[in-house]
């Protein structure tokens, strides 16, 4: 796999504000990469730097092996789908679709034939003579995609393309975008603040915060082995529980919960845990198990008991808030015959306990 887009030590300053800090990123040809992070972390800035809409202040960018650091946007051969769609309001759907071809000197007849073709597989066939203002949000979204795919650019860039759609449409468009990507064998970079979108659509997820890449890798790698507390809390829904703890020996910790329960942890190549070492334990809500039958109600090695504060059920899943202030979240399949105030005994698989340094937030 060759790198289609390569960023080396890329930095971007807006005046005194340092928006991108030493970004190193290699995007393989044919891959679907998601840039994800909270609002304001620099995702759009990074995407716009790839497109050439922002000038990077330091570092190097190559696309398909060619130096692109200071090449103007129209010579980069990249297509972008904007959050606002940026459809040309004074042009019909067809005129919008053929615009990129006409600007590149493709003949009118050939461009129209391509537009017919693209309209066919993006579901716009009956809409070619309409103006953008006569389309629904989902249809506009399709026109924006059609305009991007009508030529075969070196990469597709998406900046939160689904954020203006309703929830149901968002889920179906997610699949459509991914299917389109696979069909075209394209290279795509997809910006979103929604980690579910990133996890479900991408082959490679890049988590950003404050202009820094916190971690990148395959979606499940980020879930299974977050390198720091930020990524651990950002990936996964509902968010991971963090509980202060300290080491007992190399294979167990004591949680800062009533009764100081001790739980076993297993280490996979991390540095050995020291007795008394302060750590933060990360416990995913979906990994906490409710202990029933024998052993229920007892706090001891491997289990701890917490009161139930709040019960929310969606029918298929039950969300519980546990602890004195409801600070511990738990997700269970099915329904629970529980009432606030009941006490629950929990356990967790040692392999699923994540440990972080309380100061640096790094995985220990």
């Amino acid at each position: 796999m060759t790198a289609q887009i390569e960023l080396t030590e890329v930095n971007k300053h807006y005046g005194a504000y340092h928006a991108l800090k030493n970004i190193n990123l290699s995007i393989a040809k044919g891959s679907f990469v998601a840039l994800v992070g909270p609002s304001g972390c620099g995702k759009s800035t990074l995407l716009r730097s790839l497109a050439g809409l922002e000038k990077i202040t330091a570092g190097r960018l190559t696309i398909a092996g060619d130096e692109m650091t200071s090449v103007p946007p129209r010579k980069r051969d990249i297509a972008m789908v904007f959050q606002s769609y940026a459809l040309y309001p004074h042009m019909t759907v067809e005129e919008n679709l053929v615009y990129p071809l006409r600007m590149r000197g493709v003949s009118k007849t050939e461009a129209r034939a391509r537009a017919q073709d693209v309209a066919g597989f993006t579901g716009l066939s009956g809409l070619l003579t309409r103006y953008p203002r006569q389309l629904s949000g989902g249809q506009r979204q399709r026109v924006a995609m059609g305009r991007a795919v009508i030529r075969s650019p070196k990469a597709f860039l998406f900046d939160e393309p689904l954020s203006n759609l309703d929830a149901a449409l968002r889920v179906s468009m997610r699949k459509e975008i991914r299917a389109l990507h696979d069909r075209l064998g394209a290279t795509s970079v997809y910006v979103t603040h929604d980690q579910i979108e990133a996890m479900t659509m991408a082959d490679h997820v890049v988590v950003m915060k404050d202009g820094v890449i916190e971690q990148q890798g395959a979606p499940l790698t980020l879930y299974d082995r977050p390198e720091n507390r930020f990524v651990a809390g950002f990936i996964g829904s509902p968010a991971m529980n963090f509980v202060a703890a300290h080491g007992i020996d190399s294979a167990s910790i004591a949680l800062d919960l009533p009764g100081r329960p001790q739980i076993a942890v297993s280490r996979h190549g991390e540095a050995p845990l020291k007795a008394g070492q302060a750590v933060v334990a990360g416990l995913r809500p979906e990994h906490l198990r409710i202990v029933e039958g024998e052993g229920a109600g007892q706090t001891g090695i491997g289990r701890f008991t917490l009161p139930v504060r709040l019960i929310e059920s969606t029918g298929s899943l039950t969300y519980l808030s546990l602890g004195e202030t409801g600070e511990i979240a738990l997700v269970e399949h099915g329904r629970e015959q529980l009432r606030p105030g009941d006490r629950l005994t929990l356990s967790i698989d040692p392999a699923l306990v994540h440990l972080f340094d309380p100061q640096t937030g790094r995985r220990v």
């Binding site: 809409l53 972008m80 940026a86 615009y99 203002r133």
Partner: protein, 300 residues
């Protein structure tokens, strides 16, 4: 009485009164004078019949008289030239400046604000300033043109029949630039920036972007600016009064100044009204274009 008040409050009567007040205002202050003017152009009016409304109707005689006068066609030609040249100059320079200030550079909005100075100045003051600039003996314009080697002798802008109208046009262009620039600037800044970014990624260069995005998106604004410019230019009176008084020998006379001159200096009210009616027709056409262009506004 009670029901009137309650209907005011419950909404329906309120709507009607909101519309009724401005309509009454418009009718009294614009509609009636307009009709009066049209009626007057069909009557025989002199100093003695001015106070009454019962004047002899003469049909289209005033129009016939008007077009049989030797100065009529040259003055209408002057008017056409004044309007076209003024609007062309105001629009092109105004659009150029609007595009220039659109590139956000340090101090851009501050400098743009300075241009408003010409807009708040009364036409008579502008006229006085241009009188100095255009002055034949010591005017700045002659000095600049001479220094640049464009002319050898002084041009007597205000008294040379070949230049008098152009002197007023020059001043009027200067007066109208800021209005054009501000309105066009507003139009430009209301075009979403991402359209230009999308076009750039779609492969459009600066010229292609101007002709395929900027101009079509500005259609409504341009229509409005040009038709308002037409209306303002047809109303421009102060500059003629201040700079040339329509002279020499009508060389810089235009319809609006002539109408005033006929009515209030020669007391030929019927002729003055007749010219006004002809101008109303043109203003009406401009107004229709204006209303249509704002109605067809394209916004995504």
């Amino acid at each position: 009485m009670k029901s009137i008040f309650s209907s005011l409050r419950d909404g329906r009567g309120f709507d009607v009164s909101l519309v009724a007040f401005p309509m009454a205002f418009l009718f009294l202050l614009s509609g009636l004078p307009l009709v009066y003017n049209i009626v007057m152009s069909l009557q025989e009016v002199d100093m003695f019949s001015l106070g009454t409304f019962a004047r002899p109707f003469v049909g289209l005689k005033n129009y016939a008289t008007l077009f049989s006068q030797p100065e009529t066609w040259p003055i209408l030609k002057n008017t056409a030239l004044f309007v076209t040249a003024s609007i062309a100059g105001q629009f092109l320079i105004g659009f150029g400046l609007a595009l220039f200030f659109w590139n956000e550079f340090p101090g851009a909005s501050w400098l743009r604000g300075l241009f408003l100075v010409s807009w708040v100045m009364p036409g008579l003051v502008v006229g006085a300033i241009w009188n100095w600039i255009l002055s034949g003996d010591f005017g700045v314009l002659n000095y600049v043109l001479r220094s640049a080697g464009l002319i050898s002798g002084n041009i007597f802008w205000r008294s040379d029949p070949a230049f008098a109208l152009w002197a007023v046009i020059l001043a009027n262009i200067w007066l109208g630039i800021s209005f054009n620039m501000i309105l066009l600037s507003v139009g430009l800044s209301s075009i979403p920036k991402d359209l230009f970014e999308a076009a750039e990624l779609d492969g459009a260069g600066a010229f292609a972007r101007f002709f395929t995005i900027t101009l079509p998106m500005m259609r409504a604004t341009i229509g409005a600016v040009v038709s308002l410019g037409l209306i303002f230019t047809l109303q421009q009176f102060d500059l003629f009064a201040a700079i040339t008084s329509g002279g020499p020998n009508n060389a810089s006379n235009v319809a609006q100044y002539w109408a005033w001159d006929l009515s209030f200096r020669q007391y030929d009210f019927a002729q003055g009204a007749t010219i006004s009616v002809i101008m109303i027709v043109f203003v009406m056409i401009a107004s229709v274009i204006y209303v249509r262009s704002t109605r067809q506004e394209v916004r995504g």
